[in-house]
């Protein structure tokens, strides 16, 4: 095991895959010579050269169009969209072209590409640089959607995403870039579509994603210590494919479900999981399904306000305690 930051794991995954496969190329704004505005890609151009790691203009439609065209014709490109909020300026090519073309052509072509992006709040960047937009991606048929919570998963899931024959939107949580963790030495690949049971428990299942996972884990500690409630914590990791098997196993056991989402409330991924459980596992439930989300508002930028509105461990504790009452 090596200690590595979430940020370093991004580079490690890309380097691992570029070394083994010449067809992997990587483009984006300020990702090459400058090494990325979040310093996630430093040194890649030095190692892999100017043809494989290239800076682009501020032309998100061109960037995403370019990786789409390249993926259709034999490459395995990676694109960076600097902040996930900027998916909005190239959403047509993501959601209408890349996601649909394989289906529309009944499988004539694939899009083995990855779009990485810095997602989420907590950095006081204001409403246009802080969104959690994993639900934007989840709602589009034809996109795979991954959001890791630890350096090991960044490396393993990003490697798997690059190898995947389908388009993957890979959400890196910007508030986690500085966090560290153990990452297995040598080649490391974590299959997509497998949720991770991070903590076993018997009274309630807490399902979380990305930055919310640490809140869920902390809440579970508090619940155990202060309320005698045994919480099982599941890191969903991948919204599409969604590992309903693991979630169902847990909820069948605990009979209670709480989801913790960073996205604003309406049509968040927690709503989908809630609706699946309410439909397919209803008779196993012994209480309401509770969602902890950012309220349905844009994110304010002042630190005091941003902290007040984002989900937190204590909000999760409150929700679970209320549910257990």
């Amino acid at each position: 095991m090596a200690q590595m930051s979430y940020r370093e794991a991004v580079k490690a995954a890309i380097a691992q895959e570029m070394r083994r496969d010449e067809s992997v190329v990587f483009i984006g704004e300020d990702i090459a010579a400058p090494g990325g505005v979040f310093k996630t890609t430093e040194g890649l151009q030095a190692e892999f050269g100017e043809l494989r790691v290239r800076d682009t203009p501020i032309s998100e439609q061109a960037i995403i169009g370019a990786v789409a065209g390249a993926a259709m014709t034999g490459l395995r490109p990676i694109a960076e969209i600097m902040f996930s909020d900027f998916f909005a300026v190239c959403w047509d090519i993501v959601a209408n072209q890349i996601a649909k073309t394989r289906y529309m052509t009944d499988g004539q072509c694939s899009f083995p590409l990855v779009i990485r992006s810095a997602n989420g709040g907590g950095s006081r960047f204001g409403a246009q640089h802080s969104q959690s937009v994993e639900n934007w991606a989840m709602m589009i048929p034809g996109l795979k959607v991954v959001a890791p919570s630890s350096p090991a998963d960044v490396k393993g899931l990003l490697a798997a995403a690059i190898r995947d024959p389908d388009p993957v939107l890979f959400f890196e949580q910007k508030s986690l870039y500085g966090t560290k963790g153990d990452v297995p030495e040598g080649e490391h690949v974590v299959p997509l579509g497998k949720a991770n049971v991070l903590r076993e428990g018997s009274d309630v299942t807490i399902v979380a994603l990305a930055a919310m996972v640490r809140h869920a884990m902390k809440a579970a500690d508090t619940l155990q210590a202060e309320h005698g409630i045994s919480a099982e914590v599941i890191d969903v990791r991948s919204l599409v494919p969604l590992d309903t098997t693991t979630i169902f196993e847990s909820v069948s056991k605990t009979a209670r479900l709480v989801t913790v989402e960073e996205n604003p409330r309406l049509c968040g991924w927690g709503a989908e999981i809630s609706s699946i459980v309410a439909e397919e596992l209803f008779w196993d439930l012994e209480g309401p399904i509770v969602r902890v989300t950012t309220p349905h508002i844009p994110l304010p930028s002042a630190d005091a306000l941003e902290d007040a509105v984002l989900p937190s461990a204590s909000k999760v504790v409150d929700a679970v305690v209320k549910l257990a009452d």
């Binding site: 190329v25 043809l51 290239r54 682009t56 203009p57 032309s59 998100e60 439609q61 061109a62 960037i63 995403i64 169009g65 370019a66 990786v67 789409a68 065209g69 390249a70 993926a71 259709m72 014709t73 034999g74 490459l75 490109p77 047509d92 090519i93 209408n96 072209q97 073309t101 394989r102 289906y103 529309m104 052509t105 009944d106 499988g107 004539q108 072509c109 694939s110 083995p112 048929p141 034809g142 024959p165 389908d166 579509g193 497998k194 599409v240 494919p241 969604l242 590992d243 309903t244 098997t245």
Partner: protein
């Protein structure tokens, strides 16, 4: 627009007429397009084609000129008005008509429809129905060819109206700075749907007058002349293949019918329609070949051959059943499934 005619305009000006085989091939492709599109129109009228469809009757010389000039492994990217561009790559006419009719024999087994023809084996890389989107995608295919050193060129067709959308601008700048082997062909048929292009565009020639914004040569040619189209295609493909980077070519042409099935095209002055019909690319080219001494029998043979081809394609498509319902649940993912859960 600069007065400098540059490399492509010079090539067009200096081009000699192609040899007779090439000219007959240009005529064959135009006639194939013409007859297929006319048949598509008839099939609509019989309600055998549902939804919508955008015919390119009158614009055949553009597709044919490029189709004949392109290398087999080059890439074509086109729009909803892309039946011709697809056909000239050697794609099955049965597959095209079958797709329009939503039949199992369709190119995409009914999952795409008239606006989304693709035959990737033939380099027909898809027809895109949202304005502008395919322009950066074509740049991406060209980038891939450049990276793989394959010598392939991507050709991307689009309309005059498309020059006003953001993706046009991003794609051209991107292609220019990376010297990508891509040829952008703006088919100026004077209208974006029902609106005259001049009403909504700040320059007179929506493609040519913008080339300099990307450091490119302004190119404006007659899109109803198959020889011209062939010459400009050869020049632009050569330029791209030899590392000379992208081109933006505006061709002036006209669609004989309305924008789509729903549109009778009444907003166009009668004289305008008449004037352009006199410049019908198929009829005028036929006459030119005859005038210049090409054997009438050879031309007639092409007419007969293509007419039979369309009949056969229609017949096969009519006899093909609807696609199996299971296919609706297939091929979202590369594993062949559409499952979102594990």
């Amino acid at each position: 627009m600069s007065n400098d005619t540059g490399q492509l305009m010079a090539a067009v000006k200096n081009a000699k007429a192609p040899d007779t085989d090439t000219r007959l091939e240009l005529y064959r492709q135009m006639q194939a397009c013409r007859m297929m599109e006319q048949r598509a129109y008839d099939l609509f009228m019989q309600n055998l084609i549902k939804g919508t469809s955008h015919l390119a009757l009158g614009q055949e010389a553009v597709a044919a000129g490029f189709g004949v000039a392109m290398r087999e492994d080059d890439y074509t990217f086109c729009t909803y008005r892309g039946h011709n561009h697809t056909l000239v790559r050697g794609v099955s006419m049965t597959g095209i008509l079958g797709e329009l009719m939503g039949r199992e024999c369709g190119l995409l087994h009914g999952k795409g429809g008239s606006m989304h023809l693709m035959d990737i084996e033939k380099g027909a890389m898809g027809s895109y129905a949202i304005i502008g989107a395919h322009m950066p995608i074509a740049a991406g295919a060209a980038w891939s060819a450049q990276y793989r050193k394959s010598g392939q060129v991507a050709v991307c067709f689009f309309g005059d109206g498309t020059t006003n959308i953001g993706a046009f601008h991003e794609a051209l700048n991107f292609a220019a700075i990376w010297d990508l082997p891509v040829v952008y062909v703006c088919e100026n048929n004077l209208y974006m749907e029902y609106t005259p292009i001049g009403d909504v565009t700040a320059v007179e020639n929506p493609g040519a007058d913008r080339a300099s914004a990307y450091g490119l040569e302004p190119v404006l040619v007659d899109g109803n002349d198959a020889d011209t189209m062939y010459a400009v295609a050869v020049a632009a493909l050569d330029k791209a293949r030899s590392g000379g980077g992208p081109s933006l070519i505006e061709v002036q042409t006209y669609r004989h019918g309305g924008h789509s099935r729903a549109d009778p095209g009444k907003y166009r002055p009668d004289e305008e329609v008449e004037a352009w019909k006199k410049r019908d690319p198929v009829i005028t080219y036929r006459q030119r070949l005859l005038d210049e001494g090409v054997d009438a029998a050879a031309i007639d043979a092409i007419d007969a051959e293509q007419s039979a081809r369309v009949d056969a394609a229609e017949e096969t498509a009519r006899n093909s059943g609807p696609p199996p319902l299971e296919s609706a649940y297939k091929e979202l993912w590369a594993d062949g499934s559409s499952s979102w859960r594990r």
